[in-house]
Symmetry: C2
Subunit: 215 residues, 2 copies
Amino acid sequence: MQFSSDEPASRRESYHHGNLREALIEGALRLIAERGPAGFTFAEVARAAGVSAAAPYRHFRDRNALVAEIARQGYERFADELERAWAEGRPDAVTAIENVGKAYLGFARREPACYAAMFETGFPLEADAMLLRASECAFGVLRRAAEGAASSYRGQGVRPPPLMVALHIWAMAHGIASLFVGRADATRRKLPMSPEDLLESGLLVYLQSLGLQAP
Amino acid sequence: MQFSSDEPASRRESYHHGNLREALIEGALRLIAERGPAGFTFAEVARAAGVSAAAPYRHFRDRNALVAEIARQGYERFADELERAWAEGRPDAVTAIENVGKAYLGFARREPACYAAMFETGFPLEADAMLLRASECAFGVLRRAAEGAASSYRGQGVRPPPLMVALHIWAMAHGIASLFVGRADATRRKLPMSPEDLLESGLLVYLQSLGLQAP
DNA sequence: TGTACATCAGTGAACGCGCGTTCACTGATGTAC
DNA sequence: TGTACATCAGTGAACGCGCGTTCACTGATGTAC
């Protein structure tokens, strides 16, 4: 069952909301998208769901718990999307990495609120075990992608350490997403090409130097 | 003249603070370092400076104006430090770029509060002309460094567009700073090497592919 | 050098407001028999 | 199938609190003569 966000309590035909937990999460996402992960109050998100200010306490200990849950769900979907983009290294390691990079930016673009909850609320990952695990899982995909690339390395000289490669790629994707894809036009900086093109060219230059290129 | 932050108004020997504007900025920086750029109130920063809640209004229109001023000053110092690290491309283009990268991370590490005010308050650069100019000035250094590198390019094939190179380098440095150098251990992720080493190796791999390496 | 006066940079009291949180409550739902 | 009861998921009133902001004020400083 669906309720529009500004449906007042009086118009609800049922005393029970039916799906408040989800409605709170959706409302919070909308507010985060508008004003950033610190830009709303617990009371506000209750109001947005058409519910009294006390109701959210049935579902979340406090505002932080709500945002943490959003971040956790975000990391899960993020990991899924990266995983799918990677496609176990098909058709080849370089293309797969580029696809992962595109998926990274795609997520930041399609889910700016989630992305902000994941990366722009400076609160400790360690505090929430589920959250930490979900975030490590997302990075795991990047790591596997880099390992795939490193193992198909045919150049001369030392084979690049896969963890390092994964971190370089992560940093570049994350940097581009943070600087140029961010939530709200406000934060965004101007760019003479699409973020996707920028990342693709960056990855190409980087990977080429490791003796890797798409066949 | 210096006043410690928690000096109560009564202990000040003078009715006038003497240096309130600076004291407010310093207090805000301390609070940002502790709790992030959204983690304090205007009243709180007044209290930290040992002054009534009304006093800050003599110096800043509101909280946003204070944070914007911090960001502006931050961009100025940031640009200075990058400029100095670049040293007009000496001793060679690659080393100069690596130095700029180190300076980027160094700033994020030494001035986490400034860095947060510059990059983690999602409010619009366009709103404040001074702020916009200062930030463009900082990026200008990166751009000149990349131009230096591109012009010393001796490889075969097309010469890489300097703006693109500058953006790649910016993204990698910014990504590493955001993910691994951030304010408070809270936000930071674990890393098997120093951020500086990570950035240096990343730049080396990247630049090598452009036919550039330190002599 | 002294004095009068303008300006500056603070005070502190006051206001309305919305937030977070608790509480006893109540309507709706599910289930045992 | 009907009924009694337990549980669940909301309400709405209440509280204390700190914030943002305004205001008339006042102590300190600078300056003209």
